[in-house]
Symmetry: C3
Subunit: 440 residues, 3 copies
Amino acid sequence: MALPALSESTLDRLGGEMYDLLYSLFPICRSITGNGVRETLKMAQSCLPMEILEIPSGAEVFDWSVPDEWNIFDAYILDPEGKKIVDFKANNLHVLGYSDPVDAKLGLPELKEHLYTLPELPDAIPYLTSYYKRRWGFCMRHNDFLQLKDGTYTVKIDSTLKPGSLTIGECVLPGEQEDEVLLSCYTCHPSMANDSISGVVLATFLGKLLSQVKRRYTYRIIFIPETIGAITYLSLNKDRVISKTRAGLIVSFVGDSGPFCYKKSRQGNAEIDRVAEHVLSHQKGNYEVRDFYPDSGADERQYCSPGFDLPMGLLTRTYYLRYPEYHTSLDNLSFVSGENLSESLGLYYEILAAFEMNKTYVNQVMFCEPYLSKRNLDSTLGSQKTLDGETRKIKWLLNYCDGKRDLLEIANKISIPIQDLEWAVQELIRTKLIKPEITN
Amino acid sequence: MALPALSESTLDRLGGEMYDLLYSLFPICRSITGNGVRETLKMAQSCLPMEILEIPSGAEVFDWSVPDEWNIFDAYILDPEGKKIVDFKANNLHVLGYSDPVDAKLGLPELKEHLYTLPELPDAIPYLTSYYKRRWGFCMRHNDFLQLKDGTYTVKIDSTLKPGSLTIGECVLPGEQEDEVLLSCYTCHPSMANDSISGVVLATFLGKLLSQVKRRYTYRIIFIPETIGAITYLSLNKDRVISKTRAGLIVSFVGDSGPFCYKKSRQGNAEIDRVAEHVLSHQKGNYEVRDFYPDSGADERQYCSPGFDLPMGLLTRTYYLRYPEYHTSLDNLSFVSGENLSESLGLYYEILAAFEMNKTYVNQVMFCEPYLSKRNLDSTLGSQKTLDGETRKIKWLLNYCDGKRDLLEIANKISIPIQDLEWAVQELIRTKLIKPEITN
Amino acid sequence: MALPALSESTLDRLGGEMYDLLYSLFPICRSITGNGVRETLKMAQSCLPMEILEIPSGAEVFDWSVPDEWNIFDAYILDPEGKKIVDFKANNLHVLGYSDPVDAKLGLPELKEHLYTLPELPDAIPYLTSYYKRRWGFCMRHNDFLQLKDGTYTVKIDSTLKPGSLTIGECVLPGEQEDEVLLSCYTCHPSMANDSISGVVLATFLGKLLSQVKRRYTYRIIFIPETIGAITYLSLNKDRVISKTRAGLIVSFVGDSGPFCYKKSRQGNAEIDRVAEHVLSHQKGNYEVRDFYPDSGADERQYCSPGFDLPMGLLTRTYYLRYPEYHTSLDNLSFVSGENLSESLGLYYEILAAFEMNKTYVNQVMFCEPYLSKRNLDSTLGSQKTLDGETRKIKWLLNYCDGKRDLLEIANKISIPIQDLEWAVQELIRTKLIKPEITN
């Protein structure tokens, strides 16, 4: 029933492959719409087959509508001497996301109204967007900004913003049950490595792994632009998402070297929250578990809006508001590694394995302890001092498999990882001493 | 919707006026019945119009009956030389409350059976009463008591105890809702400043302030003798009090300089308990919150008897069992100040303002975040680093205005005073993103 | 209503008598069936009349069946020189419980397959049994085992294992109510003093004490072999046990000098759990309260199996897994004392007295405080400073006797032993201010 364990060598190999995919995806200029997203999904499809959905601009999705599609081809600033001092082709963060096209000459004071910098990180290009107000602008290193001299500058942004569509990738892996586990990553960030793209890569490989095993649950892996993509997806799939989603995880910030951080669902005590905390508490590193908060974060803001209130959490490494490289050009390829990705993949897989394994069983004897030694489940030589570890687990299981407590609760009572109950559970099923609770 | 804020200068002015009223009320000899109470209420009426109710002696009120009315005109002890050594006119605490009249000459041993002192505070006159057993007696400083010499003493108490009535003052300030907030103070203590009279003064001025503003709730301010007055009032108004009282506060011990102390209602987690603790936790001073206890205290012993179990707490300054001046002549005018009264009035008002403001709202979008930037409620320049404080509050409100959580719970989640949600709540109402929950 | 208090001198006397009984019971070779159990019960009957039940071998009891009856007459090992080096008559722990008969000569290697020792306690004879697999064997001191030399040994076990019956003793003491308190001890251990036999002795004397007093509850005291006896008893009495058992205690490990340890019922917050913890917290010594665990322990493993889930706890002195003498010949007469037994009896009695006393009462006034001074329950001289201890208790009782809270909860609110409420409760009953809640 439980997912097969992943070997160290498999994880090592996958770490390398994940880094390779991330390396290929990194240079693409993505946004919430446009060809960068399509190119990204095409690359992911080579690992994980998925369906591509195009939702036309103007579609009404809850309180929003799908925006026009933005594409960009080139952008630069020439200084008064004609030198290219800011170049989109060198780093696509240089352009304010969703910039209007512009082709103009202007003086420094006027130019400065369109320049964005980060004085506190003077060598970083900040990441900024203006999806819902028409603007044009450039983001640049504050140190470069300080060098600008008076004179006439040439600015050029070769972009288009017009009706098109918003692109979503979706992969469904049917399981024994129709209940679904939703894995969600976002595809809308340009060249940053840990934010957004590390999640795309991990979700792709996690999907690939899940496609190769026997699954209890149906898995649905979606690749969407943040916020508007989640809103669009939820709007199109509202009833199914509400009725079928048994758990979910939002995947991002999984390539850096920091400790894991789990942000709980709004429900706070959903099965996935309990499983994630359980697995984190038994892995070797430090970790952090945070209560849900709605004022920042990723797409859990939509999944956990009060109308949905889905049992979904955000599982990251370094908490995103704690790393200064966040949303800058410093979140680059050197900030992530295949080893980190591999470790993150292992943790995600372990959480899903625990979630798959977790069930509520019912003791078929119920009245008094069953006669274990006739089933070779207890020593025939009586002395409580010699009770062995598996017999102890069997006794805990028999007492608490009462149809009300799931395996996770029993594992927590004994302070062991749920996986360590596997042998005892299988023996009790084999000897017909427990059966899964029938739920409707 | 919220009550208007009180300025510092208003509070300063009211502090002075409160002290003046307290100064005028102080010398009056009050008891649970009699003309001292009537005189007290007449003075309060000059600030706050109220109805005066007279309940005749003998009326049956739950397990009790209204006692005969007591009035006193003079009382003294003459020593063997004819010197007035104890004089009611110098301090009305000298007479045991409800003393029978007496006019006699007696020896020291017999006199001593009628004398009460406080050896541990030898310069204080204790406050004692004998409402329900006919006695006569004098209270005096222990140091004076020690000077008494053998000989024949003359004692005179010119009092009457006969059928009359018990006097109650009541002021009702209708609000938008019929639900009531009950403010209760007691009028039965003779010349003590902090116990009883400081509460009468604060309740009077709080009523005056409330009479001048738009009120969500109906306020009922009652002036009653402690215990028997509360029992009488509750007996006469049982059904209305039970069905209408949404919250209440018992007002006393509000003139000294100590930190605030809130004794919770018997319910323990009533809305008023949560509001009081919230406001106390955000004001600048130390404070104490105590669980309900029934074995001592003021009229919460009646309001929170099991049959009523009203959501009412006792809000004081120094916890009454912790100040040695309690129930003695040392609880005098120098123990209280206008500044303390003003600070107490400010806190009571702030608690009522928070209570008025606290509501349960329902997000009108519910599914996903609303599109805030089109309503100018979020920045149009996308970067989570720049989310501003009001936008954060708006996001918390939208997520948790689910019809189940009130503003207080949301403010506590963000660790800010509820008043700091005012702007965001008003904006969300204005933009029709939230509406108050309709309750029946 | 409450049980009469036990005097120190009564407890002292009973301590001596308990030690005498334990001393007589100690040498008997008991097992889960056989004449040792019958002899044990016969001795206990001299103190406490009880019914003896014989359940035939082969009877089906839940998942088990009653085993054949085992009796043993003699057993020894002769060394190659013919010297008796292991002798059942010197210590009955030398024989593996339920050993098959054997009469053979064999070499040392073959003999060693039938020898059991405790290398970590080389001077102790371990206690071992093989109830459900046919074996024969000897238990011996590890130091003796190390002296064994090559050669031919003679082994002799003169035992019988054949259809017979399992023996149970049961004493019922009817009370005012049909609800039962079940006291359970186990009779199956051979010569060990603290494990098993101390419990038999204490249960016998506790029953004797209870037989002499007016009882609210019906007491049922059962003497059973551990595990199979409890399973058999529960199987024969399933419906009554489930419907009538209001509380229960498993009695064992009560003769040593360690601090008390209470293992809660599986319910965790049953009335008996609350009472036991309350009484332990007010006695003078250290104590420990443990949550229920099903993987070891005594018959609570059966009583608290999920089908029964009875409100029964295990009350011992030193937690059995913490004393190294457990299940060895070192758990002998010098490990226990009459003084310890007496102290344990006192604690058990006090817990039952508190349980008998604990009731839910209803205030007959409910609305406001009753007029206490007319009933002489409060001072007629008014001053909160002088409120006396009994009046305080009366006020707590009146406020919280609301039909929902029992006396135990009220005592815990005031942090006093429940017994200290006795006078106040009786006064309130006498003055008709409270009545017991009628429960169906």
